[in-house]
């Protein structure tokens, strides 16, 4: 059952996000150099950190998938990577807005974090096309896991490499979180926590929705298999991978098999 903790998780997210936003706009002091513009820091940097952690976690989940061959781990890996990609896109957009406000350009190559993010985004943008291009569900999950592990290992290496290559002419405002004064640090931590909760809630929401669709498909297959005259084709478009999601039995025991139907998936 994927939806079990969803309600408490979303309530926690609402509380945390409201607290974070309140702190950002009512409590955190104005920064000396950038003034009000610096407030973007509290949304941009948590997005960045959570997105990167998400990519690495996606790789870890893929490792578990390859070791246990349980499709549910691939499923989680997919959702986490997908959500991290969206957060990465939001990171790039908010970073670009901040760059425009700070230096007048929509993009600067001097910010190693932003540049690394662009590279990571371009890499993970191929994840879904890769999955789409493989028909067999078991092979799709396996290849996707190989990709997720490779890319997850690549993320920190890429950051180090790009950071090394950047000239240090511009003060790196976006990257430094080490010497924040007290109230700013508190605000930042709360924002980070709120973003983490938001990420987890959205992932859980997505997992539950996909699982529900899979249950529906299984139900439809069972029902239409009994009556020969009806349309076997599942409703709606073929969803993006993974197309073989192990369906939990109503008794609560998860599906015994690894859940890779060879045929019949729509």
């Amino acid at each position: 059952m994927y939806g079990k903790g969803l309600r408490s998780l979303s309530i926690a997210t609402v509380v945390a996000m409201s607290a974070a936003l309140s702190l950002v706009f009512f409590y955190a002091p104005l920064e000396a150099e950038q003034g009000f513009l610096q407030k973007i820091f509290y949304v941009h940097v948590p997005l960045a950190i959570i997105s990167l952690c998400g990519f690495v976690i996606g790789g870890l989940l893929a490792i578990v998938h390859l070791r246990t061959r349980d499709a549910r781990w691939d499923y989680r890996s997919y959702v986490v990577i997908h959500m991290s990609l969206i957060f990465a896109l939001a990171t790039l957009i908010t970073g670009s807005i901040w760059a425009k406000g700070s230096w007048g350009h929509w993009w600067v190559w001097d910010e190693p974090t932003l540049v690394s993010f662009l590279i990571v985004f371009l890499l993970y943008a191929t994840y879904q096309p890769l999955r789409f291009a493989i028909e067999d569900p078991e092979r799709q999950a396996r290849y996707a896991s190989v990709f997720a592990i490779t890319a997850g290992a690549f993320v920190p290496l890429n950051f180090i490499a790009v950071r090394m290559s950047t000239s240090f002419l511009h003060p790196r405002v976006l990257g430094s979180t080490s010497n924040l004064p007290g109230p700013m640090a508190l605000t930042f931590l709360v924002s980070l926590g709120a973003m983490a909760l938001l990420f987890t809630t959205l992932c859980k929401y997505e997992l539950t929705a996909k699982h529900t669709r899979a249950q529906l498909r299984a139900l439809r297959r069972r029902l239409t298999a009994d009556s020969p005259g009806s349309d076997v084709r599942g409703a709606g478009a073929r969803s993006a991978a993974p197309s073989a999601i192990p369906v939990s039995r109503p008794t609560g025991a998860p599906a015994r098999t690894a859940g890779y139907p060879v045929k019949g998936h729509t």
């Binding site: 950038q34 973007i40 939001a90 957009i93 959205l202 929705a209 029902l223």
Partner: protein, 72 residues
């Protein structure tokens, strides 16, 4: 307070405010777009469940018997 803000060396408030608002709107839009996607999915699930329920009822009606296994 407004005098302090007026002295900050960076973009004046009415300028910086636009950028900050835009950045937070990105976050807001991200969540709302997800809500929309979920709404579409929910309506599709409801429709599919309705169809399946019709199929079951039609089949029960055809066979004209109450099968204890079939439940409601």
């Amino acid at each position: 307070m407004s005098r302090l803000l007026a002295e900050t060396p960076a973009l004046p408030l009415h300028e910086a405010g636009k950028y900050v608002a835009a950045a937070y709107i990105v976050l807001f839009a991200m969540v709302l777009i997800y809500v929309t996607i979920m709404a579409v999915r929910l309506s599709r699930i409801e429709r599919e469940l309705g169809e399946l329920l019709e199929t079951v009822e039609a089949r029960d009606g055809e066979q004209g018997r109450t099968d204890p296994e079939r439940g409601s």
